[in-house]
């Protein structure tokens, strides 16, 4: 069974401003604030009016200092909303997309698991690759979907992890579902129960 080298693993790239868009919606978490500010600075340099057509939804890292929101607020952005819970941010994001118009570009920056949840909602609004830019920064810890019991285990850092739903030991594959916003976890000791490969921290 293929564990790595699977095409469905998302590919990210440094955020670039897309001035072909009429509206800009930015969503970030933690150190993802940095790339968003960088795009704002590039707006400032090439098309200053773009900031007035930009909204930002931003969530600080729990327990970490807030280095970015003050700069976001002073960048001439139409609307900056700050959150301390992912669910609240995603709820607002969903509502904003519901009233957004064609011509909107989405910029996402943050840990991969956070971006996956954002992209899952964007997908429901039929946003395509040419409307969305995503830059990964922060932890690589994964959301893992157990293919046996369908429970999702959050913040998985190891190649092998125990399912939060059925307690099976799962090997975490690069096989990614955009619909579930999670990597697939497959029982690792089905042939010889209890015989596990070495467990290593790989998603840091």
């Amino acid at each position: 069974m293929l564990i790595t080298g699977i095409k469905s693993k998302p590919v990210y790239a440094p955020l670039q401003p897309d001035l072909g868009g009429r509206y800009h919606l930015m969503v970030g978490h933690g150190v993802g604030g940095g790339p968003l500010l960088r795009v704002l600075q590039e707006f400032q340099a090439s098309e200053p009016s773009a900031a007035g057509r930009t909204q930002i939804l931003y969530m600080t890292e729990a327990g970490a200092p807030d280095e970015f929101s003050a700069q976001m607020r002073s960048a001439g952005v139409a609307n900056v909303r700050l959150f301390d819970r992912t669910e609240a941010l995603l709820g607002d994001f969903n509502a904003i997309l519901g009233s957004s118009l064609m011509g909107t570009r989405l910029y996402v920056a943050g840990p991969e698991s956070f971006m996956g949840l954002v992209m899952r909602i964007a997908l429901q609004f039929n946003l395509n690759k040419d409307e969305v830019r995503a830059e990964e920064c922060g932890t690589l810890a994964r959301r893992v979907h157990c293919i046996h019991c369908r429970a999702v285990t959050e913040s998985v850092k190891t190649n092998i992890a125990q399912c939060s739903g059925c307690s099976r030991w799962l090997v975490v594959r690069d096989h990614y579902s955009r619909r579930l916003a999670a990597y697939m976890g497959v029982m690792v000791d089905a042939e010889v129960p209890g015989e596990l490969p070495p467990i290593k921290e790989v998603f840091l």
Partner: protein
């Protein structure tokens, strides 16, 4: 199935819809059902005129749910190369035509949240098939239909009846034109735009969409236009060791076919890329009329789409 496989159909009805447009209903000569298709598909009709064979694409406008017959709408082109005049003047109930199997280069996006359809004149035909599907679904849609004048609005009556509240007509003779900027700047996220008609409406809609920030993946178009004529020229088919002469109102592809050499094709309109042909040598310039090749490929002089493109040259050698 080879692209050259055709199917014999009999014209079972021919109706003059407007002074310029005829609707032909085609049923399989052998009885039974025609091949299934999806909305937006076209067929190629082989038109055997007095002096030459035309292969013209026509959108299927009947419902994809009924395969007893296909319907096509044919507009008589003023400056016809002969194909549409033949269809209007010579083809009648009982005539047998050969058609190529349906191909779809203008399908609806299956996960769109809204469909915005813009038709210019005879460009309404693929939408008639789409609408048959859309009416039974639950995705919102709107049709904006621009015509020269009320008496030049093919299928307008049946549409008005079925699409009341979801359709708006624009009559150029009454000064009523589509305001693309307003229309395209107010569409909800997840909308897909589909435009079909002549070069002007396609260009206006696609340019306005880009101006309103629409990404290309949400913009779909199909242009109805005859391949542009040009100077006569000669081509040498290197592998077949044949010379072909292309007269001004004939396409390179038609001339190659007339010489008995097969080139794969689907759209015959310069968009699908199937007839892409390697140019071995050219003394002069290639006249690219397609929408398929990249700027780099055009500049290279190494490749041509013979369904719509030509050459102004002393010598053209193709790898055929």
């Amino acid at each position: 199935m080879s692209h050259a496989d055709t199917l014999a159909v009999r014209v079972v009805a021919a109706e003059q819809v407007t002074p310029q447009v005829k609707r032909f209903t085609l049923a399989p000569v052998e009885g039974g059902l025609l091949p299934a298709f999806s909305g937006g598909s076209h067929i190629i009709v082989v038109i055997r005129g007095a002096n030459r064979v035309h292969r013209n694409p026509y959108s299927l406008m009947s419902s994809p749910a009924s395969l007893e017959h296909y319907e096509i709408g044919v507009r008589r082109m003023e400056a016809s190369r002969g194909g549409s005049h033949f269809m209007h003047d010579e083809v009648r109930v009982g005539s047998v035509l050969d058609i190529a199997h349906p191909v779809n280069l203008f399908a609806l996006d299956k996960i769109a949240r809204k469909h915005l359809l813009i038709a210019g004149g005879i460009g309404i035909t693929p939408f008639l098939a789409h609408l048959a599907d859309l009416r039974s679904g639950n995705v919102p849609y709107e049709l904006h239909y621009a015509v020269p004048a009320p008496d030049q609005a093919p299928f307008c009556e049946e549409l008005t009846e079925r699409e009341a509240g979801r359709m708006r007509m624009y009559h150029r003779s009454l000064g009523d034109r589509i305001d693309f900027e307003t229309l395209l700047s107010q569409q909800p996220l997840g909308t897909h735009l589909y435009v079909c008609g002549g070069p002007a409406i396609v260009k206006n809609a696609v340019d306005a969409a880009r101006g309103c920030g629409w990404p290309d993946s949400h913009v779909h178009w199909e242009q109805f236009s005859a391949p542009p004529p040009g100077d006569a020229f000669d081509a040498y088919l290197a592998k077949s060791n044949l010379n072909v002469h292309v007269v001004p109102d004939q396409t390179l592809l038609e001339s190659i076919e007339a010489a008995g050499v097969e080139v794969p094709y689907l759209c015959r309109g310069g968009v699908c890329g199937f007839c892409r042909t390697e140019v071995v040598a050219v003394e002069g310039e290639l006249v690219h009329n397609d929408h398929y090749l990249s700027a780099e490929e055009r500049a290279s002089g190494k490749v041509i789409m013979p369904c719509v493109s030509r050459a102004r040259c002393k010598k053209l050698v193709l790898n055929l």
